[in-house]
Point group: C2
Chain length 366, copies 2
Amino acid sequence: MMNTEKEIRSHRYCVIMCGGIGSRFWPYSRTGLPKQFIDFLGTGRSLLQMSYDRIRSVVPAENILVVTNEAYAELVRRQLPDLGDNSILLEPARRNTAPCIAWAAYHIKARDAHASIVVTPSDHLITREESFRDSIVRGFEFVESRDALLTLGIQPTRPETGYGYIQIGDEVEPGINKVKTFTEKPNVELAKVFIDTGEFFWNSGIFLWKADSIIRALHEHAPEIAQVFDRGAGHFGTASERDFIEMEFPGCMSISIDFAVMEKASNVYVETVDFGWSDLGTWSSLYDNSPRNSDGNVTQNCKVMSYDSSGNIFAVRDDKLVVVQGLNDYIVADAGDVLLICPKSEEQDIRNMVSDAKLKFGDTYL
Amino acid sequence: MMNTEKEIRSHRYCVIMCGGIGSRFWPYSRTGLPKQFIDFLGTGRSLLQMSYDRIRSVVPAENILVVTNEAYAELVRRQLPDLGDNSILLEPARRNTAPCIAWAAYHIKARDAHASIVVTPSDHLITREESFRDSIVRGFEFVESRDALLTLGIQPTRPETGYGYIQIGDEVEPGINKVKTFTEKPNVELAKVFIDTGEFFWNSGIFLWKADSIIRALHEHAPEIAQVFDRGAGHFGTASERDFIEMEFPGCMSISIDFAVMEKASNVYVETVDFGWSDLGTWSSLYDNSPRNSDGNVTQNCKVMSYDSSGNIFAVRDDKLVVVQGLNDYIVADAGDVLLICPKSEEQDIRNMVSDAKLKFGDTYL
């Protein structure tokens, strides 16, 4: 018996991960209101809301789950009021992506033994939504037809040193290849070589697989994590799931899914895509992805009067007026109780500033 | 019959002028809270309060008057709760210093025909209070013994181009000379010549005279103004003074006491003084007069973490944390709804920015 399109769609799930704290955008992004909850592009929708909107055309609304930290439960409910409480998984502790993805897979499988899943971060920017949708559908079809772990590789546009790279191996279907290697942040010379070969793609952090496939891979490559969730059998999807997670989740090792599974498994594939992706991981990438004023500045939620000033990014809350003269290529971020002024070229130092602020003032300004 | 010291003191009055709007310190100083009402040095007292405290040891409390704009009546009452309502003269319009000083003189004379008066701005800094007190007492004694208009001339310490200068003529008593010329803001070459001659002093805007003497001088040199207040005879010090002023004050010409009287009269003297004066008229003078952090920055009401940054002045309300890297010799002024960033060396452009902000946004950010 042929499955109808609707039946096929009904087994497709999306897991949106949004537990990060976004410290690289401090103080604009704060522990209390991280990056993914901010309307970064001034569109009226936060990055999380844009992620939700984007996946709605691929996956039924009731199959969209959000995994976040307990601290952000209210923020998620407010920003995504259509989500049922059963669709919000609240992590009692931060344990990186592998335990998060494992929990979501066990949870979904308990509900639907034939589930396939796309896992996506919530804080990325994707500009070509139609191309995104086609890529996700194509990815679902691929993983539903075999035992595969699929990652989306972004066509690189510059020798970026802040991303992970995926080297492609043999093509198995048009646009889908075996993965040859994963490489974490290369230096700029290596990144240039990567680009020139045409074999390397940026690791997007967007994954597709059947619930079955990822659970099998966890058993094989991260058994410590799989064992934790195996003990939860009978709890997932029931009233006792919450208690089980409160008790057991904090005991999981903290590790990314890339290290725990993707770099070890042999059934890993990459779908090469090009849908206008940016991880908005740095002020500079935000600057590059935002519309500029006629004077070459980027403004976030504020009015700017600039004189002899360009190349700046002004991220200022509450519709404030910024008046600036003789300032070029700076980040000016104002979060009400903290004002940061730093050259764009030195933004890697912001992490140290956050550490210093924590040492000096505790959690007050985090 | 000899007058006792107490009797002499009882005829001494002080007029503190505090109607200015302080636009040079925008946006830290705002139309709604001008410079003189701000605790600029973080001492717990505003510049106005410091002016009041300073004169209290020279003049009886009940003889201290404040002249301000109607808009600031509440601010004055809150900051100087000991002032009676009869001691606050509220100007219904801004008309520069001559009408302000004229009104105060007529008002005081109606109360005390033998009054002598010191007139002082409210937004200056004076660091050596004892020397200030001695200078004022000396000035009172001088003007009480003759028909004289006395101005205080500050020993200059640098070829400042933003001040007016007074050239001294013959000495009439130790430390008190006839005035030879008044010169408005000279260029830097001329200012250097002024300093070298030893004959030039900064015009402090602090004046002493008998009420009689200034009223006589107004009749002679600014009869249009004197006529207005002559019509008020019988109103000053009574319940109808307010109505009279509301009706007549706005019709006065707007002119400074320097132009209207001091530069024309022949009985003008200068007492040369040296009591640690600054007009705090510019961000740079505020920087020069404020204690610096170990990194060479000046902070107003905020905490600063600075990296590779010095020579800046941070004037930020509400105990905000400022984190700054790679910024040197800037003004960073944050007033809640406006943030200004401008090189110290270009602060003369701030006036234009205020004008632009008014054109673009009306009075919202003034």
